[in-house]
C-alpha cells in the first residue's frame, strides 16, 4: 500500500494542509480509500471476516448463547481449598506483599530491582529507588523478566545427547571431564561464557586458572556495546566509558543510540531527563544532535537529526574532529547537509567546552570511536562529561575471542568445552563456523535457561537457574556491585553458573550462597562482615563498590588515529545495518510473549522483524509494507518482509537480530527471520555491498500504529523556550458543561505526562503488563486491532516523509471528569469514584462495548475471548493477586493502578493519616526512566502533579471534547513551537 506512493504527491498534500500537520503513518498521509475505510471504522476489529457467518447465522448463535446465559448465571462460588503453612516462615504475613532487593542481568550487567512476592511467589519487579544507577527506574526488558522466570519452556532437566538424564549422571560426567583436564594442567579445556560482571565468577575464574594453568576462557556477547576495543586502541587497554549526560549541555551522537534499548538505557535516560529538567527550568542548555541511518530513540529525541548512511559516520567524525582542532585531515568531501551538521555540531560542542559530549556509537569501527575520545579530550570533557573506569566485565572481550576458540576447535586442540549462558550456534557471526567446529570437540557441556540451538549440539546440557532463583552477584552499569538473592526456590531444579563451575572444579558441596558470601568476605575491608552483608542485601547494592573514575586519565596513544577501515567496495549499492531488537534483543527474549507483543518503539510492529527500507528505496523497487524481499550480501542471502520507514537513510537496510530461532520455545515458533547468517565478525554492526531483490511474495505484518486512532487535532503541542520562561502559553478557560461537576474531595487523583522528556522507550507499557495482568493476544488478533495493552504510546510524524520529525504520546485512560463512557454504559459498569477515578467494574460489565464507542481517546479494551484461562499453570502463577483476571466478554482499561491506591489508602487509614505525595506510584510512573509520568493528588497544591499541571505547558488531549480529563500533558519545548 505504501511503497509506490509518489513523494511529490505526498508533499503536495502536506503543503495543502493548514496549521500543524501530524500523520500517524504513510497510509494516513496518503489518505488512500483503504485507509479512510480503516479509520472511519472506530474499531478495525469490527470488520466481519470475509467468509464469516451471515447476520442470520450470527443471530441464531446469539439466541442460543442468550438461552444458555441464564444457566451460566446459576454457578455459585466454587468451593475453594485453603492451605495454610505447616510451619509459618518468620515474618510471613499472608496477603501482604514482601519486597526483596535483587537484580536481573541484561547483557552481563545487573539491573537493580525490588522483587515483589506474594506468599513466596514473585509477581512484579519494581525499580530499586535506592540504587544510584537507576533510582527506581527500569526498562521494558527488566519489567518482562518476571515472565522469563515462569516460562514453561525453560529447560527442566539435564540431558545427555538430548535424552533426559539426572543430575548425578551429569555431575559424574562433569567431574570426570574436569579431572582429566586437570591431569594435563587444563590443556584443551575451554570455557565460553556470555558477558558477565560477577565478582564471584571472577574469583572462580582465578581459582580455575590456578588449578588448570593451560585452560582458556572465552567470552562471546552477540551485541557488544562496551567500546572496549576503542579504548584498547586509544589507551592500550580496555576501559569502561561512563557518560554523564546530566552534565552535558550539548551532546553530539554519531550512529550512537544512547537512549535506545540496552543495559545503559535507564541510566542514560535518567541522566538526560535530569539535564532536560534543568533546561526546562532555565538552567543551562540541553542540545542533542544526532546523525544516524535509521531512526532511533536518540535520533527522534534530538533537536537536530541528520540522516547519514553508516559509512558516512567516519567522515562526519573526522570533519568534526578537524573542526575542533583534534587532528586529522580537513580534506573530507561532505554534502551540504553534512557540512551544515558538522558546523552546527562543532559550534555546539565548542560553545559548551567542558560541558559537552561527543559520542561515536559502538557500531562504528574502533578507530572512528577513538576520534570521539580525542575530541572529548581536546574539549576538556574527559573527567567531566565522560569518565573512565577499569572495565567492569569479568573478561573484557577481545573481538576475536570466539574466532580464536573456533580455530582451535577446528584444529582439534579442544578436548572439553563448557558453554555457560551463551548460544553461539544461533548467534555466532556467519564467517565463524562454530557449529561445524563443535563436532571436533571431545566433550561439549552446555548450560542455559533453555534447551536451545547450542544445547541441541552439545553432548551434555544442564538447565541454568533464572536470576530470580539463585544467589549470584553482578555490577550495575555505574559499577556498583549488587547481590542477586533468590526470590523463590528453583522451580525446575537447575544450577547456578557458580555451582556448575564449582562442579568443574571438583567441588559438589559448596552452595551458591556460600560462594557469593565468600567473595564479599574477601573484599570486605574491616568492619563487621555480617552487618555489611545485610546492608547490601537490604539496599540492593554494596556500598562504595563502584570503581573510582581513573584520574588522571591515561594518555591517548599516538597511533590511535590510524584509519583501519576497509575502503568501500566499488559498485556497492546498499548498506545493511544490524541492530539489537527492542523486544528480543539478540534473541534471548524470543520466548517472552510480553516482549514479543510490545509494539516496537518506532515501528509499532509486533511479533515479527522486518527489513527497514527508506521510502525512496521502496519507490525505486516497487515495494510496500509486508512484501518479501531477498537481501544478497557477499554470497549469502536471507529473505524477509520489508517495512517502509520514514526517516530511514535512502541506501541503508536496517535489520534487527534475535528472530527466526529454531529452539527457543512455543512462543516464538515461526516468528520472524534470522539475520545472523548475513552478519560477519568484521562487520557486526553494518556491512556494505548488499543488494535487495523483491520476490513477489508478501505477508501480513501486525502493527498497532493505526489502531485506536483518535479523531481530532492538536494531539501534540509544543512551545518555544521563550514561551515557557514567559509563561505566555495561556491556558484556556474551562468550557461550560451540561453535566454536573463531580465533588472535589481530597484526595483526588490526576496524572501529568511530560512529552518533552518522553523518549517512547516502552518501559511504562511493559510495567503495566506485569502489574495489571494484561493478557497477550498473538499476532493475528493484534492485526485485527484487538491488543489488550491498557497504555499505548502513539507515535506521530510531522513534516516530510523522507525526514520527518517524530513525536511520542503515551495514552492511558484519561479518567475524564465528564466521562462519555459513563454516560454510555447501559448497566452502570463504568462509574465515577469520589476520588476522581473512572472505574470499570468487570463483574457488572455485560460487554455491550458502548463505552468504547463513546470514548474519544480510544483507551478501552474488550476481551473478545477467554485470553487467560488456557495459560499454562506456571504463567498463571505470575499474575498479580491484587488485580482481577478478566474473563471473556468484559471491557477493561487503565485504572490508575487502583490496587496501589487502595493499598496506600488502607495503610494511611490504619495510621490515621492522609496519603503522602509520592506514596502512590502507578506502575508506569514507577518504571519511567525519565520521570515523564507524575501521578498524585490534584487537590493538594503542593503535590508534584499539581505543580506540573500549573505549568504553562499543561494541556488536555481533545480539549474541544470538554471531557475534562484528569490525565493531561505538558507540551514539548521546541525551537519553533506551535
Amino acid at each position: 500500500m505504501t511503497g509506490d506512493k509518489d513523494l511529490a504527491m505526498l508533499k503536495e498534500r502536506l503543503a495543502g494542509r493548514r496549521g500543524r500537520a501530524f500523520w500517524r503513518g504513510l497510509d494516513d498521509l496518503s489518505s488512500t480509500p483503504e485507509f479512510r475505510r480503516f479509520l472511519t471504522r472506530e474499531f478495525p476489529a469490527l470488520e466481519p471476516p470475509p467468509s464469516g457467518p451471515s447476520r442470520r447465522e450470527a443471530l441464531k448463535v446469539m439466541g442460543a448463547s442468550l438461552a444458555l446465559a441464564g444457566v451460566a448465571g446459576c454457578d455459585g462460588v466454587p468451593d475453594e481449598r485453603a492451605l495454610p503453612y505447616v510451619k509459618a516462615p518468620e515474618f510471613a504475613l499472608p496477603g501482604q506483599a514482601r519486597h526483596y532487593a535483587t537484580s536481573v542481568t541484561m547483557g552481563g550487567f545487573a539491573q537493580p530491582v525490588l522483587g515483589e512476592t506474594h506468599e513466596g511467589r514473585p509477581t512484579k519487579l519494581e525499580g530499586n529507588p535506592h540504587h544510584p544507577a537507576s533510582r527506581g527506574a527500569t526498562d521494558a526488558f527488566t519489567q518482562a523478566a518476571i515472565l522469563g522466570l515462569y516460562d514453561p519452556d525453560r529447560s527442566q532437566t539435564p540431558r545427555e545427547r538430548g535424552r533426559p538424564t539426572d543430575w548425578q549422571a551429569f555431575e559424574a560426567a562433569a567431574i570426570s571431564a574436569a579431572a582429566q583436564a586437570k591431569a594435563v594442567d587444563g590443556e584443551g579445556f575451554r570455557i565460553l561464557i556470555g558477558r558477565s560482571t560477577s565478582p564471584t565468577l571472577a574469583r572462580q575464574l582465578a581459582a580455575m586458572r590456578a588449578a588448570m594453568p593451560k585452560a582458556r576462557w572465552h567470552e562471546f556477547e552477540p551485541v557488544d556495546a562496551s567500546g572496549y576495543e576503542a579504548s584498547r586502541i586509544a589507551f592500550g587497554r580496555p576501559l569502561e566509558q561512563h557518560f554523564r549526560l546530566d552534565e552535558a549541555e550539548a551532546t553530539v551522537c554519531l550512529d550512537a543510540d544512547i537512549l535506545g534499548p540496552g543495559p545503559r538505557q535507564v541510566l542514560h535516560a535518567r541522566q538526560w531527563s535530569a539535564r532536560r529538567a534543568g533546561f526546562q527550568n532555565g538552567v543551562g542548555e540541553c542540545r542533542l544532535l544526532v546523525a544516524e541511518a535509521s531512526p532511533s530513540l536518540t535520533g527522534v529525541t534530538a533537536d537536530r537529526r541528520l540522516i547519514a548512511e553508516p559509512h558516512r559516520t567516519e567522515a562526519l567524525a573526522a570533519a568534526i574532529g578537524f573542526a575542533l582542532d583534534a587532528g586529522g585531515d580537513g580534506n573530507i568531501p561532505l554534502s551540504t547537509e553534512e557540512t551544515e551538521f558538522v558546523r552546527a555540531a562543532a559550534a555546539a560542542l565548542l560553545r559548551r567546552r567542558g560541558r559537552s559530549l561527543f559520542i561515536v556509537g559502538p557500531a562504528q569501527p574502533a578507530s572512528v570511536q577513538a576520534i570521539a575520545l580525542r575530541v572529548n579530550q581536546r574539549l576538556g570533557n574527559i573527567g567531566r562529561t565522560v569518565q573512565f573506569t577499569e572495565a567492569l566485565a569479568v573478561l573484557p572481550s577481545q573481538e576475536d575471542s570466539l574466532a580464536a576458540l573456533t580455530r582451535d576447535m577446528a584444529a582439534g586442540r579442544v578436548t572439553t568445552l563448557a558453554i555457560l549462558g551463551a548460544n553461539p550456534v544461533y548467534s555466532a557471526p556467519a564467517d565463524i563456523p562454530f557449529a561445524a567446529a563443535l563436532a571436533r570437540v571431545g566433550t561439549v557441556v552446555h548450560a542455559g535457561l533453555h534447551y536451545d540451538e547450542t544445547a541441541a549440539q552439545a553432548h551434555w546440557h544442564a538447565p541454568l537457574l533464572h536470576d530470580l532463583e539463585m544467589w549470584s552477584d553482578g555490577r550495575a552499569v555505574d559499577g556498583h556491585a549488587g547481590i542477586l538473592q533468590p526470590l523463590v526456590r528453583p522451580f525446575f531444579g537447575g544450577r547456578s553458573p557458580h555451582r556448575l563451575l564449582q562442579i568443574l572444579l571438583g567441588d559438589l558441596d559448596t552452595s551458591g550462597y556460600e560462594m557469593v558470601r565468600e567473595t564479599w568476605r574477601e573484599t570486605a575491608s574491616g568492619g563487621d562482615f555480617e552487618e555489611a552483608w545485610s546492608a547490601a542485601l537490604l539496599q540492593g547494592y554494596v556500598e562504595d563498590s563502584a570503581p573510582a573514575p581513573l584520574s588522571p586519565v591515561p594518555d591517548l596513544l599516538e597511533n590511535s588515529s590510524a584509519p583501519q577501515r576497509q575502503a568501500v567496495a566499488a559498485g556497492a549499492p546498499l548498506t545493511v545495518e544490524f541492530r539489537p531488537d527492542a523486544s528480543v534483543w539478540d534473541g534471548r527474549f524470543a520466548n517472552n510473549a510480553w516482549l514479543q507483543e510490545l509494539p516496537r518503539p518506532l515501528s509499532k510492529l509486533v511479533w515479527d522483524n522486518v527489513i527497514q527500507i527508506s521510502p525512496a528505496l521502496a519507490r525505486e523497487q516497487g515495494l510496500s509494507d509486508g512484501d518479501i524481499a531477498e537481501i544478497r550480501l557477499g554470497g549469502r542471502t536471507i529473505d524477509g518482509p520489508v517495512s517502509v520507514v520514514p526517516g530511514q537513510a535512502a541506501r541503508t537496510l536496517t535489520l534487527t537480530l534475535g528472530y527466526g530461532r529454531t529452539a527457543a520455545g512455543q512462543v516464538q515458533e515461526k516468528v520472524g527471520f534470522d539475520v545472523y547468517p548475513l552478519r560477519t565478525s568484521g562487520m557486526a554492526a553494518f556491512a556494505e555491498g548488499a543488494s535487495l531483490h523483491p520476490t513477489g511474495a508478501s505477508m501480513k505484518l501486525a502493527t498497532t500504529q493505526l489502531h485506536f486512532a483518535m479523531e481530532g487535532f492538536d494531539f501534540i503541542r509544543s512551545v518555544t523556550p521563550e514561551q515557557v520562561t514567559e509563561g505566555a502559553a495561556s491556558k484556556q478557560a474551562e468550557h461550560p458543561s451540561l453535566y454536573t461537576d463531580y465533588p472535589q474531595g481530597s484526595p483526588n487523583w490526576g496524572m501529568s505526562i511530560d512529552l518533552d522528556v518522553c523518549i517512547g522507550c516502552n518501559a511504562c507499557v511493559s510495567a503495566c503488563n506485569a502489574e495489571n495482568n494484561i493478557p497477550m493476544v498473538g499476532k493475528d488478533q493484534v492485526a485485527k486491532g484487538r491488543e489488550m495493552h491498557w497504555l499505548r504510546i502513539d507515535r506521530y510524524y510531522e513534516g516530510r516523509p523522507d525526514n520527518p520529525r517524530h513525536h511520542f504520546q503515551p495514552v492511558p485512560c484519561m479518567h475524564c471528569e465528564q466521562a462519555p463512557c459513563e454516560m454510555g454504559c447501559p448497566v452502570n459498569a463504568t462509574t465515577h469514584s469520589p476520588d476522581g477515578l473512572n472505574q470499570q467494574i468487570y463483574n457488572r460489565c455485560i460487554g455491550t462495548r458502548t463505552c468504547s464507542s463513546f470514548c474519544p481517546y480510544k483507551v478501552r479494551r474488550f476481551n473478545w475471548f477467554d485470553l487467560t484461562g488456557n495459560d499454562p499453570p506456571s504463567v498463571q502463577a505470575a499474575r498479580n493477586p491484587d488485580v482481577t483476571v478478566r474473563d471473556r466478554g468484559v471491557m477493561e482499561k487503565c485504572t490508575y493502578c487502583v490496587q496501589r491506591i487502595s493499598e496506600a489508602r488502607i495503610a494511611a487509614k490504619l495510621e490515621d493519616r492522609s496519603i503522602a505525595d509520592g506514596e502512590v506510584l502507578t506502575a508506569c510512573q514507577q518504571a519511567c526512566p525519565t520521570d515523564a509520568i507524575v501521578f498524585g493528588d490534584i487537590t493538594d497544591p503542593a503535590s508534584a502533579v499539581s505543580r506540573r499541571k500549573a505549568s504553562p505547558r499543561d494541556y488536555s488531549l481533545l480539549e474541544e471534547a470538554n471531557t475534562r480529563p484528569r490525565t493531561t500533558y505538558l507540551a514539548r519545548i521546541e525551537k519553533e513551537g506551535k
Partner: protein
C-alpha cells in the same frame, strides 16, 4: 376459504399465556434461587478434614480469634493457623485422637492441611480484614456466632447487598476496636447509642466513599 381452524385462536392464546407464565415463573425462580441459602450457602456445613469445633475452642476454652487467625489485624487475610499452631496444644492434648490424625500427618509429612473454605468471596472482590478490625467491625458481624458452631458454616449470605448494607450505614455496626473479637454484644446498641456516630467522626468515615465501586472491586 378458511385458512385457520376454529381452535387456532385458542391455541395461540394458550401458547402465549404458557410462555408468559414460564418467563414469569423462571424469573421468580431465579430471584428466589439467588436469595436462597442454596445459592448463598448460608447455614450449609462444609465437610472438613478435621471436624474442628469453634464452639469448643472459643466458647469452651475461651481462645481469642487472633490466636489462630493471627494476621487479621495486619493484613488483608485473617490467615489460617499453620499446623504448628494446632500442635502447640495438641502435641500434649488428645495426642491419640483419631480426628486429629490429619493434623499429625500434616506435621510429620510437612504437607498442609486442605481445609474447605467457608467464607469464600468471589475473585473480583477484595476484602481487607485489617482495616475493618481497626475501625471496629466485630468478627461476629460477618462470621456470626462461631462460638455456637460445633462445625463451622457460613452465617451471612456474603452477597453484595450484605456488604453494602454496612458500607452505606456503618454507624450501628461499629464497636471499640480493642473488643472486636467479642462474640456476644447483647444490648450494646441500647447502652451506647452514640458510639457509632462518634466513631464515624473520629475516624473520618465517609459512607459515600465506602460505596464507591473500587473500594471492593479492582
Amino acid at each position: 376459504m378458511q385458512i385457520f381452524t376454529p381452535s387456532a385462536d385458542t391455541r395461540l392464546r394458550l401458547f402465549v399465556s404458557v410462555v408468559i407464565v414460564l418467563i414469569l415463573g423462571s424469573l421468580a425462580f431465579l430471584s428466589g434461587h439467588a436469595e436462597s441459602s442454596f445459592a448463598t450457602k448460608r447455614g450449609w456445613v462444609q465437610e472438613q478434614p478435621v471436624p474442628f469445633s469453634h464452639e469448643h475452642h472459643v466458647a469452651g476454652l475461651g481462645l481469642d480469634c487472633r490466636y489462630c487467625h493471627a494476621s487479621v489485624e495486619n493484613s488483608a487475610h485473617a490467615g489460617f493457623p499453620p499446623t504448628h499452631t494446632c500442635m502447640t496444644c495438641h502435641s500434649q492434648l488428645y495426642t491419640d485422637a483419631s480426628e486429629l490424625a490429619p493434623v499429625r500427618q500434616s506435621m510429620a509429612k510437612n504437607l498442609p492441611i486442605r481445609w474447605n473454605r467457608v467464607s469464600a468471596l468471589p475473585d473480583y472482590v477484595y476484602f481487607n480484614h485489617s482495616i475493618h478490625i481497626d475501625r471496629g467491625i466485630a468478627c461476629v458481624e460477618c462470621h456470626g456466632r462461631v462460638d455456637r458452631m460445633p462445625i463451622t458454616f457460613r452465617a451471612k449470605p456474603f452477597q453484595m447487598e450484605f456488604c453494602l448494607g454496612c458500607h452505606r450505614d456503618p454507624a450501628p455496626h461499629l464497636r471499640p476496636p480493642n473488643m472486636t473479637t467479642v462474640m456476644d454484644w447483647g444490648d450494646w446498641q441500647e447502652k451506647h447509642p452514640e458510639y457509632g456516630a462518634e466513631a464515624m467522626a473520629a475516624h473520618n468515615i465517609e459512607p459515600e466513599k465506602l460505596v464507591s465501586c473500587t473500594t471492593c472491586h479492582r
